[in-house]
Symmetry: C2
Subunit: 406 residues, 2 copies
């Protein structure tokens, strides 16, 4: 059986007219003899509205009950699209996560998919042409409703595509993946093919079109993802295996973000202070550490610098205060006026000199680099936030990521 | 285990503040050592809003998908109340109809409860003090969500109370059952106890506080129902077995409605025209016939008069037109300017003369009676609609249903 898996996000099912447009696109495919598994998010801003409602009765809502509430969002959107399909004589049927046998771990608001009953899906397709499935949700072994957390519907769609051995088409409000954020990189180019690894770096670093979790899952099961705009005819972007990305660009994309803060601790004694104990304490406090740079100046003097999300700063301060307890020599500096910029590309593995070109571009244009880290396929560096857009633009031009030759 | 079953309607959980008030009342009971099973409707006008949304995508929404949509309403309200309870340290948990094992027939939008898993409920009460259950919904044998139709949450609550062998408390926006509609009967009195049979007559005839289905179910399982106002200290009304209604009033209540139309067919030939064929055709067309009066004038001449809901008039006209096909002698008259008035009372069984007192009251006050039917515990008659309020008031005084002695 040839099954097409398509996921539509919240803005794509934001109102009755949009639902009808999606209905028409689906019916067209059915008339061409296709079977479709449609995965939906909740309509528009429903999920946020439900969270607001929950906050009205409890500042810290019970996680189990919050999932009970949140799962109503997709249940509403799947029933509405299916009504619209059935209304036009299409053989469609909707299923919630639990009805579809999407088993998850127990952790509410951040459950992981454990198993999907693909037999059931194949059975249903014998009688129906379209299954409309609720994304973002599942059921744990106690038969309680769970949700998958951020990017959950993308993850549901990829998991369903994986068990059905089909590609996963994700329709959203942008035309695909670009070499940079068009608001920052003038003339950013659409990427027609990108590898899972590059996309994971891009997504983690702020591209925001698809959640890294979903890309990771797709990578694990070698499920091709196609990202395109719901209501446009433009070709989108394929996210696929490295082998299928024909021409490896040295640099595929550039991303930047203002969401981090740099913390520097000076004058530590490497013989006495154990950095790993600080990092595990921060980890226990759910403070995600991103970049780390450490410099041993002498046998008794060491500086360390790392970045964390701005939202975690207060927690991090408390943890560091207790960790440094009594150490009068050390000095802690916080810098929240930074921009984190990354270039990503499979080609970096074989092409040396990318870092050198980045450093040179920054130096020639008098943009000081505050910190650098590298991975196999990316280089990430920190600049003062006022240089963000210029840095992105200059590096974008250096690596031909832009169509703008001005 | 001593379990208290309470049902709160849509207006009682209409907003966050009301939910918090109910929370406080529940917590008070828990602190007194009680176990509570709370049955909720959807918040405020949610169900109607969802139906509007459905109509936006399909004029005649798929019944299965409409239930998929409607069941989200109670799922939201139960999760919110439970969050509010848990927030205050109360051991509460919410369950949808399907999680609670409320099995129903398959008929969407009008399913009947077949079975409830009371074992599960008792198990849950070992760990929790409050179960918040979604009213109005269940699951059929294909594991599809169903809803119970009008008065569904009342029915859920009574069914749950029945399997737990507990009374069923129904909290709503009125203080209980009155001897008549206070807008029509000045000084209408609150009834402290009323029998199931009387209540069924009252409910069918328009009292509107509780659905007759729920009363019928309670009657079958001898489940006492207590109806009172959510946010008032006033004593409410018990609906219970005849034996427990101590002092049987001759007439317990009076109801009236303007929702019917009277149809009269004159000059039928009783030897030729078979009335039962007309009534079964109307039944097949889902036209509910209420009162029927038939008069054979001679061997070849018969008149018949009956009432149906105004909403069914167009359908009824078509059916009658085809049934009378070619009969040029017969004449059909429609009268939609009528009021249907009923007096109900267990005491009628033993007290004769109630009909006579009704007729006399009407005659003395020059209100012509158009049609009459009687049951064991009620008398129903038709007057012109302009006489409705005066007729109700006069009969209310005749049978001491009113505190208003003016």
């Amino acid at each position: 059986m040839n099954i097409r898996v398509q996921k539509y996000g919240g803005t794509s099912v934001g109102d009755v007219d949009k639902i009808k447009k999606i209905r028409d696109m689906i019916i067209q495919k059915v008339q061409q003899g296709e079977k479709l598994l449609i995965v939906l998010s909740a309509m528009g801003t429903t999920t946020n509205q439900l969270i607001e409602l929950a906050k009205g009765v409890s500042e810290k809502p019970s996680p189990r009950e919050l999932d009970m509430l949140l799962t109503t969002g997709e249940q509403a959107s799947i029933s509405l699209l299916t009504m619209a399909l059935v209304d036009q004589g299409c053989r469609g049927i909707s299923y919630t996560g639990h009805q579809l046998g999407i088993e998850t771990t127990s952790f509410h608001q951040n459950a992981k998919i454990k198993k999907i009953n693909s037999e059931k899906i194949l059975q249903v397709f014998k009688k129906y042409d379209v299954i409309v499935a609720a994304g973002f949700q599942g059921i744990n072994r106690n038969q309680e409703y769970t949700t998958l957390g951020r990017g959950g519907s993308d993850t549901s769609a990829v998991a369903l595509a994986a068990v059905l051995d089909a590609p996963c088409e994700i329709y959203t409000d942008v035309d695909g993946i670009f070499s940079g954020d068009p608001r920052k990189l003038n003339g950013a180019k659409k990427i027609s093919r990108i590898s899972y690894d590059e996309m994971m770096e891009m997504a983690s670093l702020g591209a925001g079109v698809i959640h890294p979790r979903a890309v990771e899952l797709a990578s694990k099961y070698k499920t091709p993802i196609y990202i395109a705009s719901t209501f446009s005819e433009e070709e989108g972007t394929w996210i696929t295996k490295r082998e299928e990305v024909m021409e490896e660009a040295v640099v595929t994309g550039i991303t930047s973000s203002l969401e981090d803060v740099q913390i520097t601790i000076k004058n530590l004694n490497p013989a006495v202070e154990n950095l790993s104990s600080l990092f595990s304490r921060l980890g226990e406090g759910e403070v995600n550490i991103d970049m780390i740079s450490q410099m041993v100046i002498s046998e008794v003097l060491m500086n360390v610098s790392f970045t964390i999300p701005k939202t975690a700063l207060e927690t991090a301060k408390e943890i560091m205060y207790s960790w440094l307890n009594g150490n009068e020599n050390s000095k802690v500096e916080y810098n929240d006026g930074i921009a984190k910029i990354s270039v990503i590309g499979l080609g970096m593995r074989s092409h040396s000199g990318v870092a050198a070109r980045v450093f040179k571009t920054m130096a020639v244009n008098r943009i000081p680099i505050k910190m650098v880290t590298t991975s196999e396929i990316s280089i990430t560096w920190i600049v003062d936030e006022e240089h963000e857009n210029r840095a992105v633009d200059l590096v974008g031009k250096e690596f031909q990521l832009s169509n703008d030759f001005s």
